[in-house]
């Protein structure tokens, strides 16, 4: 059977009807993109009476053969530079291109066509909303196998394919978005579980000591009463800090954090944060705070310091020492919070500042929301400073915050 006979057997009106039928097929089919492309390519081959058809999709500077029907020189996945070939010309000109005789047409590689036995071809661009997505091409081993009517059919099929591709791309984008939302949802769920534990633990402390003070006040020494009252305060501050962090995470995610720069006496701010922490019996804090002023938002900076010291208190053993130092330099000031606890695992040095992350050492063991250090990092970032952690010589973690500051010695 020759192609001419086959083509002749399908009158033009019937061919358009076939295109409409194909359109209906695809319109109601489920979106398995590869089968749609296979069907369209095969239909295009049949309707044009071609020996082969190829659907090539644009990927960067290349055209990639994505669906192949009949006997075509290209195999699936094969890449051709847009700059070469008749397909490339169709992409560049955004117009259908027809080659009636590969032997005499300068636009095609005659040697290559001879090698694969192609004499004539037609290539039309896949256009959707003015963008070229690829090319639908039919090939024949006979010269002048394709007519203007064939090109019209091919254009209809290409338009159809372009619309399906656009729909599939939209669908894929929506699926990606849904997956991202689901991930966020899971993250928030895990975060809420951690947050509720973080709240419950200090609340249990508050309630426990309050009940103890009430029921045993007569038997307790003044020292113990003071210790237990201190425990209540420290637990209540923990709750307060957690709530502040939760609100900040929400405000950060909505982009609602405002930075107000003003001269801040950093040593006084650090001192006031230290005074607000109850270290627990046995833990020591050594502060070395020379007077230094920075331009910063005092509320945000306070939260940075608070989270760093809170972190040191939370993750060091009961008999640990915590050092807090200010190190003014010429164009910057460094706040260093160190401890002689267990230090930071090498893998966590970067990760520790990411949201909802905590040291891998703690995973599933010591619960926590993992937002404190993330917030500290974000707040340092808005001050155009830097934050990092290293392991201290002699064991323990060493957190550094460097603020680009107009250091100004004050008495």
């Amino acid at each position: 059977m020759t192609k001419t006979e086959f083509r002749g057997s399908i009158p033009s009106r019937a061919r358009f009807a076939a295109v409409v039928a194909a359109q209906q097929d695809l319109g109601t089919s489920l979106l398995d993109l590869q089968s749609v492309m296979d069907v369209v390519t095969e239909r295009a081959r049949e309707l044009c009476g071609a020996s082969g058809a190829v659907l090539e999709l644009l990927d960067g500077d290349d055209l990639v053969a994505t669906a192949v029907a009949g006997s075509a020189p290209s195999s699936k996945g094969q890449r051709v530079a847009v700059a070469a070939s008749l397909s490339g010309l169709a992409v560049r000109t955004r117009k259908a291109q027809r080659c009636d005789n590969a032997e005499t047409d300068d636009r095609v590689d005659r040697q290559a066509c001879r090698r694969v036995g192609v004499r004539s071809m037609a290539a039309v661009p896949l256009l959707h909303d003015g963008a070229v997505q690829g090319v639908l091409k039919v090939l024949s081993d006979e010269p002048a196998a394709f007519t203007d009517a064939d090109v019209e059919v091919l254009e209809l099929m290409a338009g159809l394919m372009a619309a399906v591709l656009a729909r599939a791309q939209r669908f894929a984008a929506e699926a990606r978005q849904t997956a991202a939302l689901r991930d966020l949802d899971e993250l928030k769920g895990a975060f809420l579980t951690a947050a509720s534990h973080d709240l419950r633990s200090p609340l249990a402390g508050i309630l426990g000591f309050a009940e103890l003070l009430e029921s045993a006040a007569d038997q307790l020494t003044p020292d113990k009463i003071r210790t237990y009252a201190g425990q209540i305060q420290s637990s209540a501050r923990q709750v307060q800090r957690l709530i502040a962090n939760l609100l900040d995470v929400e405000r950060l995610s909505q982009g609602a954090i405002q930075v107000r720069g003003e001269p801040v006496a950093l040593h006084e701010l650090v001192r006031s944060v230290i005074d607000g922490h109850v270290l627990g019996t046995g833990r020591r804090l050594v502060a070395d705070l020379p007077a230094v002023t920075v331009d910063a938002d005092p509320a945000l900076l306070k939260r940075v310091i608070d989270n760093l010291i809170g972190n040191a208190v939370k993750y060091t053993p009961a008999d640990a020492t915590i050092w807090v130092r200010l190190e003014p330099a010429q164009d910057a000031v460094e706040l260093v919070v160190e401890d002689d606890g267990h230090g930071v695992a090498p893998d966590d040095v970067e990760r520790i500042f990411e949201p909802f992350q905590r040291g891998s050492d703690q995973t599933d063991k010591s619960p926590g929301t993992g937002v404190g250090l993330h917030l500290a990092a974000r707040f340092v970032e808005v001050h155009e400073g830097s934050i990092w952690v290293e392991n201290r010589d002699g064991g323990g973690a060493s957190f550094h915050v460097r603020l680009p500051a107009t250091t100004e010695e004050k008495a």
């Binding site: 249990a204 426990g208 210790t227 637990s235 703690q362 599933d364 063991k365 010591s366």
Partner: protein, 150 residues
């Protein structure tokens, strides 16, 4: 009757909670010496008598262990699993005392050989009730295994 030198080891990372447990033992008039350790590694150090716990007269092998689950460095479940593999420690009764109500934690704890799983109550009076009951059951009614120092 409780023995005065039958030490109880309490692994609890929250110093406030540890203090409350101590007060509850005192209020329940349980005279057993309590030893508090603050993380999982300290717990295994104590139990194996290594490092700062090498002196067994000051840090005797406990007759009972109260284990929190969520602790830094080694979880209570890790400690339990390790304990059950130590010939000298594997028969010591272990009571999980934790705020985790997660079924997976509960199941895992019993699989690993926990003798009891108690949810840490909120409030001192409720804690006192639990400690009284625990003391009565484990230190008065129950016969405990003998202890061999490792």
């Amino acid at each position: 009757m409780t023995s005065n030198d039958a030490t109880i080891l309490v692994a609890e990372d929250d110093p406030g909670h540890a203090m409350l447990i101590e007060e509850a033992f005192a209020a329940a008039q349980l005279a057993n010496p309590l030893k508090i350790v603050a993380d999982g590694e300290e717990t295994t150090d104590y139990l194996s008598g290594s490092g700062q716990y090498a002196d067994r007269s000051a840090h005797p092998v406990p007759v009972l262990v109260l284990l929190d689950i969520h602790m830094p460095r080694k979880s209570g479940l890790d400690v339990l699993e390790w304990m059950r593999q130590q010939p000298e420690l594997k028969r010591i009764p272990v009571i999980m005392l934790t705020s985790s109500e997660d079924d997976r934690d509960i199941d895992r704890a019993y699989e690993l050989g926990a003798n009891s799983y108690l949810i840490k109550p909120v409030g001192f009076d409720a804690l006192l009730d639990v400690v009284r009951t625990l003391g009565l059951y484990w230190l008065v009614i129950s016969r405990l295994p003998s202890v061999d120092p490792p």
